[in-house]
């Protein structure tokens, strides 16, 4: 027993001393797990940015976008990150309430005018439309509207709107399509929901293993299967009510000890180089003009967007979550 104690201490000390290259500045970024996975944009973005910054880029992954915000709220000024990457436009006002978000010094001349972007703190880095994905070899006639899906008995997987920006997107979608019967719509959906996952990656992986008929994701998800797997069976269902758009954003924290480096990274995110990486790794659409896209992207559905008042939505977010969690209980 006595021999064990020094051994334990030795292991504890050695395992807590995380090996780090101390010669370079380290820029720490909070993001979500699929961003940093081997097939995600993380490794390529890291390699490209480190080449020009002579720094070390370190990603710290949470399960999904909202978890990043929650972590920020929990840690407050003790947050380790210099940059947060992976919130979406609906979370901007809530994120700003933490008082931790720094204003950026970016020039948006190159952004697509359709995004109509003018925020002073957050930088958009990609965007997409939420959609339900299905396997066309299993489903011959997919649903053509959100209402049809809600009323069907097709098994679905979606993400928790408290943690995932994708789940939050569905929440806005349901609220837009059922402004007065939100609760009833959630109840109907719950009767054929397999599970509600914490993050997008967890839910999508489960769907790919045959977990459900439909999974909540993006219209661009089939491009991933087309390009990396030459697999054309996964398709996005085109809904007649229109689709909710999501703009993913990043921002620097004002607690960062490397504010200039953080700004450099934000600038890099909307550079040609990064914008070419993101569509074929994060499987979302570029935010700047004239980025050549793989031919696979032309095979995707072109959804009609639902126009939404983001300010109003973020204000109602908490109330919407309450309705959801009371109704989604079986």
């Amino acid at each position: 027993m006595k021999k064990l104690i020094p051994l334990c201490l030795a292991v504890l000390i050695s395992s807590s001393a995380v090996a780090a290259d101390t010669s370079k500045t380290v820029l720490q970024v909070y993001t979500y797990d699929s961003f940093v996975s081997d097939w995600g944009p993380g490794p390529k973005i890291k390699a490209a940015f480190e080449q020009e910054c002579s720094c070390t880029l370190k990603f710290i992954a949470e399960e999904d976008g909202i978890s990043i915000l929650n972590r920020l709220k929990i840690e407050g000024t003790k947050a380790k990150a210099d940059v947060i990457l992976g919130l979406d436009h609906a979370l901007i006002s809530e994120a700003k309430k933490t008082g931790l978000i720094a204003t950026h010094q970016q020039n948006f001349a190159n952004l697509k005018p359709s995004l109509n972007w003018s925020d002073d703190s957050f930088v958009p880095y990609d965007f997409g439309y939420f959609a339900f994905i299905y396997d066309s070899t299993k489903i011959d006639t997919p649903v053509t509207s959100l209402k049809e899906l809600v009323n069907s008995d097709a098994s679905i997987i979606y993400q928790d709107p408290r943690t995932s920006t994708v789940g939050q997107g569905l929440m806005f979608w349901i609220n837009a399509v059922y402004p007065n019967q939100t609760s009833a719509a959630w109840k109907s959906l719950a009767s054929h929901t397999v599970t509600v996952t914490k993050g997008w990656y967890e839910g999508y992986s489960m769907f790919l293993k045959g977990g459900s008929d439909y999974v909540l994701s993006y219209t661009t998800s089939p491009a991933y299967h087309l390009i990396t797997e030459s697999e054309s069976k996964y398709k996005a269902a085109d809904f007649s009510e229109g689709h909710i758009a999501q703009i993913e954003v990043a921002a620097a924290l004002n607690t960062s000890k490397h504010p200039q480096l953080a700004q450099d990274f934000l600038r890099f995110l909307i550079s040609d180089q990064a914008q070419k990486i993101l569509p074929v790794t994060n499987w979302m659409l570029p935010v700047i003009k004239d980025v050549p896209l793989d031919a696979a992207f032309t095979q995707l559905i072109t959804p009609s967007p639902i126009n939404m008042d983001i300010e109003q939505l973020s204000a109602q977010r908490k109330a919407m979550i309450k309705v959801w969690r009371s109704s989604a209980v079986k």
Binding site: V11, V194, E202, M206, R325, S326, A328
Partner: protein, 506 residues
């Protein structure tokens, strides 16, 4: 006392966080009602199914003592009970998940996520526990009862009601209550198999309020509700007695009524079914183990998590046993001096952390220390402290009997012999060595399986093996989860083997 301070601190945290009180509005929210009802419903069902099924199985083992692998069966039963729940969940997912091995046989409506899965996992963990408890109790039937029964020519039913039931009755209620509390406080199973908001218990809702919403007011309300309900149940239970489920089978010479061959077949069948039920989820890990990707990073992750888990377990178990011994000193003193009331108070204080669920204590401390220190870097210290508190009552319970017996046998003698403290300790050590080893094995298993405390205080950089399994299973990497689970299972089986051996030598 140190442990009391920790509890008090966490309650202080629960009472006030920056003046932000509990969110009482939640109490009238239908969400709160439905999780409350669900928590109680699943716990009641789990306890009911486990105890009712355990009864005939315990009888089968009792009446048919020559069953094959009986000793192994009882060890396996203990393993099922102490096994980290995530190992089990991985097994169930690869068996019964959407693309599970057995799933196609269950029809299109089968869904592991939700009440089905939760009940299945809870019964799996607690049925063997109940079998062990009932079996131990049945062995207490004196041989004379059976002789009397055969002289009186009692029928089968009469035997059950006149001989078995009186012995089992108290134990039945106790086991039921104990399983109810365990399931009511269950965390990992519900988190992994609940399927989101569809089936959430209070324990998981606390975690979600804190980590999903960062809604401290709600977390406080939920934690207090959890504490009140679990606490009330525990006090009710504590007043009745403790379950002697780990007692070794000492009496080898008990005399049994003869069973007819028809009965033997029935008992044998029941026994085999249970054995299959207990083994299948564990064997279901094998396909994943063979198919796993043995890349350097995955092996590295597993080994790193394994060493952290072991280190945490060893520290927790050593400190817990040392503390248990220290706590027993004043209790033994007061027993020797015949102060009954003082003894009771001391024992209650020693066991008080059983009342407060790990999640409630963790949340209290978390909220208290959040604004004060960087919890991310010292979180591990809290994981250790809280785990020690959680396993301490078990450690005390285990070493208590042996130490008290030592006192009653030798205390007077050693006093009159005027032995030095060193000599006394050495005699005491020789007397209770085996109990200390078996307690160490039990306590380390309980501490290493923790997920609830780690989920609050743990960090991304340092993961315990159960948490790594949760993450693998969460991202549906069932092969990797199976591999990690198999490693943990092997570790537990080894520990358990040593525990049972130590008990036999005791």
């Amino acid at each position: 006392m140190l442990i009391c301070t920790v509890t008090l601190l966490s309650f202080y945290g629960l009472i006030a966080f920056n003046g932000q009180g509990a969110d009482l509005e939640l109490l009238s929210d239908s969400y709160f009602h439905s999780i409350l009802i669900f928590s109680i419903k699943q716990a009641l069902l789990s306890a009911l199914i486990s105890t009712v099924l355990a009864w005939p199985i315990a009888r089968a083992i009792y009446y048919y003592p020559n069953l094959l692998f009986k000793r192994a069966f009882l060890s396996l039963a203990l393993l099922c009970f102490v096994l980290p729940t995530l190992v089990l969940i991985t097994g169930f997912v690869s068996l019964l998940g959407r693309s599970g091995i057995i799933t196609p046989l269950l029809g299109p409506d089968w869904n592991l996520y939700g009440l089905h899965g939760i009940l299945l996992a809870h019964v799996y963990m607690n049925l063997p526990f109940a079998i062990r408890a009932f079996h131990a109790q049945l062995q207490n039937i004196p041989a004379s009862s059976w002789m009397l029964a055969s002289q009186l020519k009692l029928s089968g039913w009469q035997k059950i009601f006149l001989i078995e039931w009186p012995v089992l009755r108290a134990n039945f209620n106790l086991t039921f209550g104990f399983i109810f509390i365990l399931c009511f406080n269950s965390f990992a199973v519900v988190l992994a198999l609940g399927g989101g908001p569809q089936s959430t218990t209070l324990e998981v809702a606390i975690y979600q309020a804190l980590k999903y919403d960062f809604n401290i007011g709600e977390a406080l309300t939920l934690a207090w509700s959890q504490l009140l309900i679990a606490g009330t149940f525990f006090v009710l239970l504590y007043r009745s007695n403790s379950v002697s489920w780990l007692s070794k089978d000492t009496r080898g010479d008990y005399q049994l009524p003869c069973s007819s061959s028809w009965q033997k077949i029935r008992y044998g069948l029941l026994y085999s079914c249970t054995l299959i039920f207990m083994l299948t989820p564990l064997l279901a890990l094998l396909p994943g183990v063979f198919a796993a990707d043995y890349s350097r990073s995955i092996i590295g992750n597993i080994l790193e998590a394994l060493s952290l888990t072991l280190v945490l377990g060893i520290i927790c178990a050593s400190v817990a046993i040392a503390l248990a011994y220290a706590i027993m000193l004043p209790i033994r003193q007061s027993i020797l001096q015949g102060k009954t009331r003082k003894t009771l108070v001391l024992q209650w204080l020693a066991n008080h952390s059983l009342i407060a669920p790990a999640m409630v204590l963790s949340v209290g401390l978390y909220i208290l220390f959040l604004p004060l220190i960087d919890l991310d870097s010292v979180g591990m210290i809290f994981v250790v402290i809280l785990n020690i508190m959680m396993v301490l009552p078990f450690a005390i319970q285990q070493i208590r009997a042996r130490l008290l017996q030592y006192d009653s046998d030798y205390a007077v003698l050693s006093q009159s012999l005027k032995l030095s403290t060193r000599q006394k300790l050495s005699i005491e050590w020789h007397y209770s060595k085996s109990v200390f080893f078996s307690t160490f094995a039990l306590v380390i298993m309980l501490a290493m399986g923790d997920v609830a405390i780690f989920s609050i205080f743990g960090s991304d950089q340092l993961k315990t093996l159960p948490w790594l399994i949760y993450q693998y299973a969460g991202s549906y990497k069932i092969n990797e989860a199976s591999l990690a689970s198999a490693v943990l299972l092997l570790l537990y089986a080894t520990l358990l083997f040593n525990l049972e051996r130590a008990k036999q030598h005791a």
